[in-house]
């Protein structure tokens, strides 16, 4: 083990223990580790933005007047300058221009992307389960596939019914049909299973991370002790 590895190992061990001290309560060691992470990340991000974005995308084109890149770079320059006005109370209206531009583009992108990348493919996927080819298979009926399709369809309808029932309750409407109430209860079951699966995945990831860090510490001491 080299000296750098030893120092880095000790620092890593100390930082791990400092973060782990949060299990007792929020203390100064946890704060130091947290601020160290935030500070290092911010400094790294600033340098990276200057090197990867501002210099090549803004400064370099502006140093070439008359070119197409120069005129294109004026647009982000003006928007950036307008955005600075957000810092001042009087010029906050000017700062809304780039913000509105940004939000508008983001909303358009999200709507277009969701409709093309998630909504339509997922609907087609659900309908695909009920296609005659998928249900019948080659020569015999694929009962498991059929059950899977029914379960998926039932899950989609039940979850929609649950949200519909929840919306009605939020607006104070008490009367509802028995079918809708039953589907809503079934939707709760589907949602519970889904959130349970998500929670298990979260716990598994956390457990893997913990075991991985503990293994690294154990390996560090094994190497240090010559094991």
């Amino acid at each position: 083990m080299s000296g750098a590895d030893l120092v880095l190992g000790i620092v890593g061990l100390a930082l791990t223990l400092m973060v782990f001290s949060y299990i007792l309560k929020d203390n100064v060691f946890f704060g130091i580790a947290l601020y160290l992470l935030v500070g290092v990340s911010s400094g790294y991000a600033t340098l990276l933005i200057i090197r990867s974005v501002i210099l090549p995308m803004l400064v370099s084109p502006l140093l070439m007047p008359g070119t197409q890149s120069f005129y294109l770079a004026l647009v982000p320059l003006i928007l950036s300058v307008l955005f600075v006005f957000m810092l001042f109370k009087r010029g906050s209206r000017m700062g809304r221009i780039p913000l509105a531009f940004l939000v508008g583009v983001m909303v358009a992108m999200a709507l277009f992307g969701v409709s093309r990348g998630t909504l339509a493919p997922q609907l087609l996927s659900v309908f695909q389960y009920f296609s005659p080819g998928a249900v019948a298979g080659h020569s015999t009926i694929r009962w498991w596939g059929l059950l899977e399709a029914i379960a998926i369809f039932l899950g989609v309808v039940a979850v929609l019914a649950f949200f519909q029932e929840r919306q009605r309750k939020m607006f104070g409407k008490t009367e509802s049909s028995v079918v809708l109430t039953g589907m809503s209860k079934l939707g709760q079951v589907f949602l519970g299973i889904t959130f349970g699966a998500l929670f298990v995945g979260l716990l598994s990831s956390a457990l893997i991370a913990l075991i991985g860090n503990l293994t690294t510490i154990v390996d560090f001491f094994r190497t240090l002790l010559g094991g």
Partner: protein, 631 residues
């Protein structure tokens, strides 16, 4: 304050006063400019005396001489007398003119006479008009003064008294706080002064020889007030402007006396008492209740002061009255405290209205009072058992892999096996240091498989921390001379830009500043997403995949995001994926850790959950602490 106003100068002290002042505010002398009229010539006092002295002579002469003659004769006789005196000095031509004028009766002409008579008539009318205007003005001023007096009297009118002589406002306050009223009555009973006790007190303080000054009897005053109700309704208004010279002299003498005795201690306290008395009297009469420390004294507000007869301090009856008055004042102050409490409640209500919609702390939630070390003990025990498992349980290779998302893993393996030397793979790194332990073993194994198939690959990073984490990834994969990943800043914007640039002409794409480093998606056959966020994978599938349908998408995702990715695998938008808990074939590892230690950890967590459920049930048996809301 006086800018734009005409100032008048006091003739006595020479100081400036406002234009509408009738008396000088500095010396109190009368200011007559108020009553001066336009066109009137102000004569000095000497000139007035001189004119007054010459007035009898003029009157005598008018009575005895030409003043009482007819107009024609009056005009003729002085001219005649003057002619006699000036005959010698007058030239010849003028004498001839005068002779002719005497000879002709109407030498001035009818027209001149008519004009003269019209002029006299107009002067008489103007004189009558000015007199009538003066009378109107005097009447207007007097009416205005009477109205102001009536308003003042109404403002200072006392509130109705009951049989015991208690004003209405005091009865309201006592009704608000009956407890204080009872205490006040008890104290008044205890402190009731008898005539004998008061006499003893007087003798002990002042001696037997002292004879108190006679004070106006209250009964007489009441009788007088009954006889003249108007006087009681309108108290005498006292002002500091002397009305005559005697007042002025007395004012000056008072000022000098006050200056002489200003250092003594009695005068300020007496003045303070007088101010308090005036304030109390005012509040009694008007029913006004002043909350807190008044910024202006009532006399300053109303510019009036009721005349109160100052009783002798030695009179016990007066001291008893004063004490009773102070007790009443204390009772009022206690009620004012209640009013302040009401103000606080209003402020609280305002704050509650302002914080409407914000989450409020749970009333049943109570912080543990004593230090809870159970979490620390359980956490340390959990860590200790895991450390023990890591040290004790050996690692060995096995072909068994944990179940879960098997179909996705099989598809992933199939696509990896299908790679060839002509295949281009784009690896997108999008994970943080917290997920590095879970993802890097899977990603490094995938990179090794790609290189083993002879396929070429290039990496890009959509997160900053993935840039430096790529070094450890390449190290684990055993990549020689690795190329640093290209940073794609902007999230989904960068992804969309990458997809659209791939569809554009190469010449147009070359205008981009980072065109040399950024990859073109149309050059690649596969894209491998290494991410711990389902949002990044969804963004790629929404922004890039619809624009690049030929690009086959594979993914290595964190275990916590596997459920969110599964629908995209079912819809064939993702060809296959690996998750952290799946591990790789031939390795007794799951997400880079020993699978047996992982199982021990799962067992411990299940145990902790059961323990938590039991403890939470015991906690729920305790009735929650509810915060009583003071209504």
């Amino acid at each position: 304050m006086t800018d734009g106003l005409n100032m008048q100068t006091c003739p006595k002290c020479g100081k400036e006063n406002l234009a509408y002042m009738t008396h000088c505010v500095h010396c109190g002398s009368a200011l007559d400019e108020m009553f001066s009229f336009e066109g009137q010539i102000d004569l000095p006092d000497d000139a007035l005396e001189e004119s007054a002295a010459t007035l009898p002579f003029v009157l005598d002469e008018m009575q005895s001489g030409a003043g009482l003659l007819p107009d024609d004769e009056a005009e003729f006789e002085p001219a005649k007398a003057k002619e006699d005196t000036d005959t010698e000095d007058v030239p010849d031509w003028l004498q001839r003119v005068r002779q002719r004028a005497r000879a002709e009766e109407d030498a001035t002409g009818e027209l001149t006479k008519g004009i003269q008579s019209m002029q006299d008539m107009v002067d008489g009318e103007e004189k009558d008009d000015s007199e009538s205007q003066y009378q109107d003005w005097i009447e207007t001023v007097s009416e205005k003064t009477q109205r102001e007096k009536a308003k003042r009297a109404e403002r200072l009118r006392p509130s109705p008294l009951d049989d015991q002589g208690v004003p209405e406002w005091l009865r309201r306050i006592r009704a608000l706080n009956p407890q204080d009223e009872e205490m006040l009555e008890e104290e008044s009973v205890v402190d009731e002064w008898t005539d004998e006790a008061l006499e003893d007190l007087r003798r002990s303080r002042l001696g037997d020889d002292y004879t108190p000054a006679l004070l106006p009897d209250d009964t007489e005053a009441e009788e007088e007030s009954e006889d003249s109700p108007e006087e009681t309704e309108e108290p005498k208004i006292e002002h500091n402007i002397p009305e005559d010279d005697e007042d002025l002299l007395s004012l000056e003498s008072d000022a000098t006396d006050g200056a002489k005795t200003g250092d003594s201690q009695d005068t300020p306290s007496g003045a303070g008492d007088a101010e308090k008395d005036s304030a109390d009297t005012l509040s009694e009469h008007t029913g006004f209740v002043i909350v807190g420390e008044p910024k202006l004294k009532p006399d300053e507000v109303f510019d009036t002061k009721t005349v109160t007869t100052e009783p002798a301090q030695t009179e016990p009856d007066a001291s008893a009255k004063k004490r009773l008055r102070e007790e009443e004042k204390e009772a009022i102050l206690q009620d004012l405290v209640i009013l302040r409490g009401q103000h606080e409640k209003v402020a609280l209500l305002k704050s509650m209205i302002a914080s409407e919609g914000q989450p409020i702390p749970n009333a049943t939630e109570s912080k543990p009072k004593k230090k809870d070390l159970s979490r620390l003990i359980v956490g340390l025990a959990f860590i200790f058992v895991l450390l023990l498992a890591i040290i004790v349980i050996p690692r060995h290779k096995t072909d068994s892999v944990p179940a879960g998302f098997v179909a996705a893993k099989n598809r992933f393996d199939i696509h990896l096996d299908a790679l060839s030397e002509t295949t281009q793979v784009l690896i997108v790194l999008d994970y943080s240091a917290a997920s590095a332990t879970e993802l890097e073993p899977l990603a490094s194994s995938a990179i090794q498989a790609i290189e083993a198939q002879g396929a070429s690959w290039q990496a890009v990073a959509t997160r900053m921390d993935s840039l430096w984490l790529s070094a450890s990834l390449y190290q684990k994969a055993g990549v020689e001379d690795p190329q640093a990943p290209v940073y794609l800043m902007g999230g989904q914007f960068a992804m969309l830009n990458l997809a659209l640039e791939a569809n554009s002409e190469p010449q147009a794409a070359s205008h981009s500043a980072l065109s040399d480093e950024k990859p073109r998606l149309d050059d690649f056959d596969y894209v491998l997403l290494v991410s711990d966020s389902s949002l990044t994978i969804r963004g790629w599938l929404e922004q890039v995949s619809p624009n690049q349908p030929e690009l086959i998408t594979l993914a290595i995702v964190s275990q916590k995001e596997a459920v969110a990715i599964q629908p995209y695998f079912n819809s064939a938008q993702i060809a296959g994926f690996l998750t952290g808990a799946q591990g790789l074939s031939g390795e007794n590892m799951v997400g880079g850790v020993n699978i047996n230690v992982f199982r021990v950890g799962l067992m411990l967590m299940i145990l902790l959950f059961v323990l938590g459920i039991v403890l939470s049930r015991e906690t729920e048996g305790i009735p929650p602490v509810t915060q009583e809301v003071d209504e």
